[in-house]
């Protein structure tokens, strides 16, 4: 077994030294383009998307850049926007036909967090020291490697897939079964590819559709719900027997996760004027950027990604 894994590690090293070493994180746009030229099908789409990305970035920057005659006066440009019936502001919105249901689920999840998850996570957090909890989070993250690997491949991000394969091999072998994360260290520096099936669907132009706030799972959309189902089959825990143990492991993962992030949700809620809308918008922005920035490639703004435009 060990022997087989070390072959895997060797193989991945081979792959990595070939192409993945200039991986500069998710933000660097054009750096990874030359490798993509082999994929002729994807090429025009990328070029087009890049062009549009440039244009929209420029628009976003110029939009408010004019001088104002009177600091508190009307802003001409805003009137134009209304008159032409066009939206010049960079806008990311999502349709919300299920708002009453979603708001009810928001309150349900809110209570679940404050009454159950947070107290349990706090007790757990006091009992287990932080380094151990980070180890647990690393372990679960390493276990879910097939999701990131397969979705990188599905998006034609071979560099990312290779990085994930290398991360899995290194962290499993030298990271004590995934509890440590030596692959992220300065010397190896393989960047984790946070990909999932929802993002893959988005990459192929499937729109978000509308907003669904699931009980337990939280903010989502038809596309991302389908994505969750897809990821379920790629998640090794799903094949764990008996079923009860698998579910238990998931709950444990969630509690561990909450224990490391106490305060994040509270901060968002406290800062918001309408916490439900704030959460919904954070979800929309977060997913949009994740799909747009994947592998350093860009996808048109506001266009095919979001089904509904207001």
């Amino acid at each position: 077994m060990i022997k087989r894994l070390s072959y895997l590690a060797l193989f991945s090293f081979f792959l990595l030294s070939g192409c993945a070493h200039n991986q500069a994180g998710s933000g660097a746009a054009p750096a990874s383009l030359p490798q993509m030229q082999t994929v002729s099908l994807v090429q025009p789409v990328i070029a087009q998307a890049q062009e549009r990305q440039k244009l929209s970035e420029k628009a976003a920057a110029d939009e408010f850049a004019q001088d104002y005659d009177d600091e508190y006066g009307d802003i001409e440009e805003f009137n134009d926007v209304v008159e032409n019936g066009e939206k010049k502001e960079q806008k990311l919105t999502i349709a919300d036909p299920l708002e009453p249901f979603n708001r009810a689920m928001y309150h349900f999840n809110d209570r679940l967090y404050f009454w159950v998850l947070k107290p349990v996570a706090q007790v757990y957090g006091r009992a287990v020291p932080e380094p151990a909890r980070i180890g647990v989070a690393n372990f679960f993250s390493n276990l879910a490697f097939p999701i990131r690997f397969v979705n990188s491949l599905l998006q034609g991000n071979f560099e990312g897939a290779a990085a994930e394969l290398g991360r899995f091999a290194i962290n499993t072998l030298w990271g004590v079964g995934g509890f440590l994360d030596p692959a992220s260290s300065k010397d190896i520096n393989l960047v984790k590819q946070d990909e999932d099936f929802g993002q893959t669907l988005g990459f192929y132009g499937i729109g978000t559709g509308f907003f669904i706030n699931w009980p337990l799972f939280g903010p989502s959309s038809p596309r991302d719900t389908l994505g969750m189902v897809g990821d379920f089959f790629l998640q090794p825990l799903s094949y764990f027997q008996p079923q009860a143990a698998a579910s238990g492991a998931r709950v444990f993962e969630r509690v561990n996760d909450v224990s490391l992030n106490i305060g994040d949700y509270e901060a968002l809620k406290k800062a918001a004027v309408d916490p439900y809308i704030a959460l919904r918008d954070a979800y929309v922005q977060y997913r949009f950027q994740k799909i747009k920035r994947r592998g350093g490639l860009a996808i048109p703004e506001g266009g095919s990604l979001l089904g509904e435009k207001k």
Partner: protein, 202 residues
């Protein structure tokens, strides 16, 4: 001979050029301003003398002075209201601007307060327009890295922040969506009343 010398000269110029260019591309005055300000904020948040509850007001006041220089409150408000700005009366605008600034300051302080014991790196500066840049920073904690991007605008020589993007979520855009929803169903006065209440609670 001359060719050789010309060649050598070219190399020198090219090398110098690269140095100058890379220095300019590395970081700009906006990054320096931001670094300085963020460090000042962290110093105040970490100051043990300002930790106790009794010193809360003093701490708030010290932060307020820094934030006033750090954020462009007009720019923030205009961007967050967008076309709704024109629907407010001038008097309402004048009330809105400081109210919104206070809410944002609190949101930002809470966000950065979580991370006071962690390391902050200033990674890159991207030019968005002649007078606008974004500065990419990361807060590195034991369990994760949180990217925080500051969008800055230069007015009358001073660089000021007009948006903070935390983990890909723009604060200004997040508020814009909220204000849009609220103003679609309610009056401007209703929004102002909500903000007044919120500031009082803080």
């Amino acid at each position: 001979m001359t060719m050789k010398r010309n060649f050598a000269l070219c190399v020198v110029i090219a090398t110098l050029g690269i140095f100058i260019f890379s220095a300019a591309a590395w970081a700009g005055p906006a990054t320096d301003v931001l670094k300085d300000t963020v460090n000042k904020v962290l110093d105040i948040l970490r100051d043990p003398k300002l930790k106790p509850e009794a010193a809360k007001e003093a701490k708030k006041e010290k932060l307020r002075i820094i934030y006033e220089k750090m954020f462009d409150e007009l720019e923030l408000s205009r961007r967050a209201l967008a076309r709704n700005w024109n629907n407010l009366s001038v008097a309402q605008r004048k009330e809105f601007v400081p109210l919104f600034r206070q809410i944002l300051e609190k949101a930002y302080a809470d966000k950065i307060l979580d991370y006071t014991d962690e390391k902050i790196t200033f990674d890159r500066e991207n030019v968005l327009a002649d007078n606008q840049v974004e500065v990419l920073t990361r807060v590195i904690t034991k369990s994760k890295e949180v990217p925080i991007t500051y969008r800055m605008i230069q007015k009358e020589g001073a660089w000021k922040v007009y948006d903070v993007v935390v983990e890909n979520v723009s604060l200004v855009q997040n508020y814009r969506t909220q204000f849009n929803e609220i103003l679609a169903k309610n009056s401007s006065e209703h929004l102002l009343e909500t903000l007044r209440k919120k500031v009082k609670e803080q």
